[in-house]
């Protein structure tokens, strides 16, 4: 069965500190992994996906198949990064499985 876990419900960091949002998955096939973000009073939107290997708003995420992880990282958090972050897995059947989400709070 496909499953995505995000162990932290809430993560608080100070502005300028590094941030890492953890995501682990279970899937027997070859997954596509995504991070979606929801800022206050905005709709859920794509932040980045592993196949692009890109940095968006300073965030990066590396797919580690050995550890079945896709942690989201940023070296210096900004207050505008405060949001709800969801890790998602797309199975070969094309359905997305979302994790429960982590609320990131960046303190001034």
């Amino acid at each position: 069965a496909q499953r995505v876990t995000q162990p932290e419900k809430l993560l608080s960091v100070f502005k300028g500190a590094p941030v890492e949002l953890k995501c682990n998955y279970s899937y027997s096939g070859s997954p596509e992994l995504f991070w979606y973000v929801q800022y206050s009073r905005q709709r859920l939107q794509l932040l980045l996906r592993h196949i692009s290997r890109e940095s968006i708003k300073g965030f990066t995420a590396d797919l580690n198949k050995g550890e079945t992880s896709f942690h989201l990282k940023k070296p210096f958090a900004q207050e505008e990064d405060s949001a709800m972050y969801y890790c998602a897995l797309r199975s070969e059947g094309q359905n997305f499985v979302f994790g429960p989400g982590t609320r990131l709070s960046v303190l001034p």
Binding site: V4, R49, N95, F96, F98
Partner: protein, 116 residues
């Protein structure tokens, strides 16, 4: 393009009633998916439609049904509403297919359903 549009934005129903939620995808997107998001949880997959055919179904009872129209818009229907059906219902569209970026979901703002 207005993005993915959903209606209504909010609605209140009582137990046992029926509800229909509507979704218009981004122009050019042929796949529509529906998700249920209960407060404090991530979105849970309900249905995916592509070219008017059901391509996937999540672990939801038969009270939930959906369809996609020739213009790629979609409806989600829920019969015999229960209190536990109270949630934000999200619609997402994608181009689908094998081209790069085709499987990225673009979400609507959602329809918030309250069942009393």
């Amino acid at each position: 393009d207005a993005g993915v549009t959903q209606s209504p934005t909010h609605l209140i129903k009582t137990r046992g009633q029926h509800v229909t939620l509507r979704c218009s995808p981004i122009s050019g997107h042929k796949s529509v998916s529906w998700y249920q998001q209960v407060l404090g949880q991530g979105p849970q997959f309900i249905f995916q439609y592509y070219e008017k055919e059901e391509r996937g179904r999540g672990n939801f009872p038969d009270r939930f049904s959906a369809r996609q129209f020739p213009n790629y818009s979609s409806e989600l229907n829920v019969n015999a509403l229960l209190l536990g059906d109270s949630a934000l219902y999200l619609c997402a569209s994608s181009r689908a297919g094998t081209i790069s970026g085709a499987n990225v979901l673009t979400f609507g703002a959602g329809s918030r359903l309250t069942v009393l």
